[in-house]
């Protein structure tokens, strides 16, 4: 006895849906990394992720000084692709065609 194509495809859809449900369950039940007293972040007082190690302002974006993108000259662009993937801070976003720096509007 051969399986009807419709039953085969519906069964396949059901299997894939169950697998997706299992993936969701797996993600839901996976324990979140627990921070404990011995965690290096707490012990060493770390403040940044060690993801991008090519420059100091990509290794420690939160600790970099405010002028890092312009460290060579005032309109200098970033040297590293990582820098260009990190967005400008909120207060430097273009507003109404003018750059505003902490509320001070500049042409």
């Amino acid at each position: 006895m051969t399986l009807r194509p419709s039953l085969a495809i519906v069964s396949l859809l059901c299997v894939l849906t169950v697998l997706l449900g299992a993936a969701l369950l797996h993600a839901g039940l996976s324990p979140m990394r627990q921070q404990h007293a011995s965690s290096p972040v707490r012990q060493l007082g770390l403040s940044d992720l060690a993801l991008f190690t090519e420059a100091r302002y990509t290794r420690h974006p939160t600790m970099a000084d405010l002028h890092t993108p312009f460290q060579d000259h005032p309109v200098s662009i970033d040297h590293f692709p990582t820098g260009s993937l990190i967005g400008p801070p909120q207060h430097l976003r273009q507003l109404g065609g003018q750059m505003t720096i902490e509320g001070v509007s500049r042409p």
Partner: protein, 382 residues
Amino acid sequence: MTHSPLRRQLNLIDFTLAAMRRRLGRNAILFVVYVLVIFLLASVMFFSHAIRREASVMLADAPEITIQHLVMGRHDLVPLSYLDKIGKIRGVRSAEGRLWGYYYDRGTKANYTLMVPGKNATNLKLEEGQTILGEGVARLRKAQKGRILALSSPTGKPLVMRIKDILTSDSALVTSDLVLVSEADFRKFFNLPQDVYTDLVLSVRNQREVATIVGKVSYRLPDARIVTRSDVLRTYEAIFSWREGLLLALLGTSIIAFTIFVFDKASGLSGEERREIGILKAIGWDTGDILAMKVWEAALLSGLSFLTGTLTAYAHVFLFDAGLLKPVLQGWGVLYPDFTLPPAIDGLQLATLAFFTIVPFTAATIVPIWRAAITDPEQVMR
């Protein structure tokens, strides 16, 4: 029994599958492209969500307040006298100087972060001549516990240390490039005076007082830059949101191409399909049956593509460590942490992806079919 709604739908699916088999090439290409687009979108979504969550969990213990000394807009070393000025502020539980700096290793062409474990680092205490390495440094230098590590210092003298331990890969996301050294070795290595630190960290008694303490510190130390823990968390949230957006924007062109491709395939009826609809109408099928058949065709194709694409994306990100996305994230850094992200899925994101991939495709097929199905069979077949 033979006319039950379920059996009727199964018959319709059988007929639909037979019709799809006749256009196997077209449907196979559509399926592969569909799966690929969903795989890419879902991979970016899963990865961004998981790393955002991981960053927020990991950095939840970051210092509450960090104080840097700025001179002409650039970092400068913090004098010891700053500790006395801020230590007396009400609400500050402890104030400590941190010693850390960068070191470019010519041998491996990688940047390391040299750091001195503070008073709280009870498990990471070091004596002079000892070091603890991050997973990435140990990997690059092929270093092992108990062996010797030599770094040539900026003063020209080599610093030779015995490797006390290697940090586990569990914490690689924050410690991969660390070289922990004793305070004496650090000061000797960088030729630093005794009374300076890289920056200061404060812990506060009451979280609600952070803003007040920041205000007092900035009043007492006008040349200081203050970074709070919420600034750190907000920065990483923004970085990964930006990165996700940028990746999705890069994928945007392929998504637009796919949308045009799908819309063209789904909304335009070929002559063969028109003839098929005409014949079905002529032999007695009603408009509802023809619509149901085409909806099944679109739903099966998009549903299968969505499930296959999502599941392969899940496996890619959480079982194979997002190997295809890593080159994008890696940038120009030689030293990249070897880490595994704990699985995390944002249900709303997944539902949005499902909605925007299955519904428009299914809907796009209905209008032209409905137009053809309500037309006179003789006219359709012409």
